[in-house]
């Protein structure tokens, strides 16, 4: 490791790797650090991605694709099913990944582009000069070090300390964090090409249970709930109960826990010498909690803007705010809209969900999108309009 780089990226997830790769491709000297000893492990993800989004950033590779998904099924609290098949599910149709391998593959593309990669290397603070970030302090295998950079990228995921060190408040409020637990289960009866979602307060208050296939008889079975819905029962207990009910014969190969920001994009993603990408900038989707593709999107935008700023010799807050602008253009609108929808749907009662699910029986969703679904729900259920008022 050297003591000076053009760019230091903190965090070896998909967002950090894309930022590192993009900056390295522009000829910059890049260091990518990951505090864990293995990139990609342990996993904190249900591993579902849309095909179209993924193809923007990585060529699909059977080495890290576990399942090809053709449809989604949503179950209301009383078990009523809404079936969304491939043609209708649009972009939502995709793959279930093996992120242990995927995250490494993405990091490898950064390394191949010329970025230096260091694991078991943690950023512990920032070097600031006149309020501008000029490097990091860190620990590598127990030894303290300092390294300078023209721009530091905070890609440190949901923990998001880099931003806070630079004065950007990234702390997640309880109502804006989805806390999750998941089992990788095997020997269970599933539909291997369907991502299933279960709604209702019994197993997922203010959230949902997911069953994402990873093979013919294997799936990620998990749940997420808003921190604000905590009433003495933790996600691990909810998913235990769901698994006991739905897959009593199943065997658990892995326990996964984690959290996703569902706050919508941070009001500010950059300052002098620093940008935030991925979960660290809260670019994950407020409804689904999906953050892989948005993370990579933000990483790529950041890489381009950083290269432009460094080449132009100006990494001030003003110059780097171009990243804010472009990220907001590409991702901000849908995140804002989905945040508003989240604020309403997480409060909907089980009874209303059932009524809505019944009303949607037999409906064909052409080119299914969330706004279309909402419109359909509202026109079919004038009676529940009060509860859903915020959606219109």
């Amino acid at each position: 490791m050297k003591s000076e780089y053009d760019v230091i990226v903190v965090g070896g997830g998909p967002a950090g790797s894309l930022a590192a790769r993009t900056a390295a491709q522009q000829g910059l000297e890049v260091l990518l650090i990951e505090k864990r000893q293995e990139i990609g492990d342990p996993v904190r993800c249900a591993e579902g991605v849309g095909k179209v989004g993924l193809a923007e950033y990585m060529d699909p590779d059977p080495n890290w694709i576990c399942a090809d998904i053709k449809k989604a099924r949503i179950f209301s609290p009383d078990g009523t099913m809404i079936d969304i098949s491939e043609k209708m599910a649009g972009n939502e149709v995709g793959y279930v990944l093996e992120r242990k391998i995927f995250d490494r593959a993405v990091a490898k593309t950064a390394a191949r582009a010329g970025a230096e990669v260091q694991v078991k290397t943690q950023a512990t603070g920032l070097i600031l000069e006149d309020g501008v970030v000029t490097g990091i302090r860190g620990k590598q295998r127990g030894n303290d070090f300092e390294a300078r950079a023209k721009v530091v990228v905070g890609a440190d995921g949901v923990e998001s300390k880099v931003g806070r060190w630079a004065g950007i408040n990234t702390t997640l409020k309880l109502k804006d964090v989805e806390t999750c637990a998941q089992f990788l289960m095997t020997d269970i009866d599933i539909v291997p090409d369907s991502c299933d979602f279960y709604l209702g307060s019994k197993y997922a208050p203010g959230g949902y249970v997911w069953v994402f296939p990873k093979g013919k008889r294997e799936a990620n079975v998990g749940m997420g709930m808003l921190g604000s819905h905590y009433k003495g029962k933790h996600p691990i207990q909810y998913i235990r109960d769901f698994a006991d009910w739905k897959f009593p014969e199943g065997k658990i190969l892995e326990t996964v826990v984690g959290a996703v920001p569902v706050s919508g994009m941070l009001p500010r993603l950059s300052t002098g010498g620093l940008v935030l990408v991925g979960d660290a900038g809260h670019v994950s989707d407020p409804i689904t909690g999906g953050g892989i593709i948005n993370g990579m999107a933000s990483g790529r935008i950041a890489g381009h803007v950083i290269a432009e700023c460094i080449k132009g010799g100006d990494v001030s807050a003003k110059a780097l705010s171009k990243y804010d602008r472009l990220a907001r253009e590409e991702l901000g609108k849908s995140l804002d809209k989905n945040y508003k929808i989240k604020e309403v749907v997480t409060r909907v009662s089980d009874n209303t969900m059932n009524v809505v699910a019944h009303s949607l029986q037999g409906v064909e969703f052409e080119n299914f999108t969330i706004p279309k679904l909402v419109k359909e729900i509202v026109t079919r259920n004038p009676g529940v309009i009060k509860e859903l008022a915020g959606l219109i």
């Binding site: 000893q37 904190r44 300390k161 702390t171 920001p261």
Partner: protein
């Protein structure tokens, strides 16, 4: 003070992101809580495993 049940913790970092005092650090499989903690107990609500607990300080 906050106690961590290290046998239960899944080292996921959820508590780190939600702590308003930035008082928690996750190092590999290890959670550390520093003296900036003000016992607000937010972390105990966000922990998926229920590994964190607010206990009364012994005087």
């Amino acid at each position: 003070m906050i106690t961590v049940n290290r046998y239960r913790c899944g080292y996921c970092g959820a508590c780190v992101g939600a702590c308003p005092q930035n008082a928690i650090d996750l190092i590999e499989t290890f959670i550390e809580i520093d003296s900036n903690c003000n016992n607000c107990s937010i972390c105990t609500k966000v922990c998926p495993m229920g590994a964190l607990e607010l206990v009364k300080d012994e005087e």
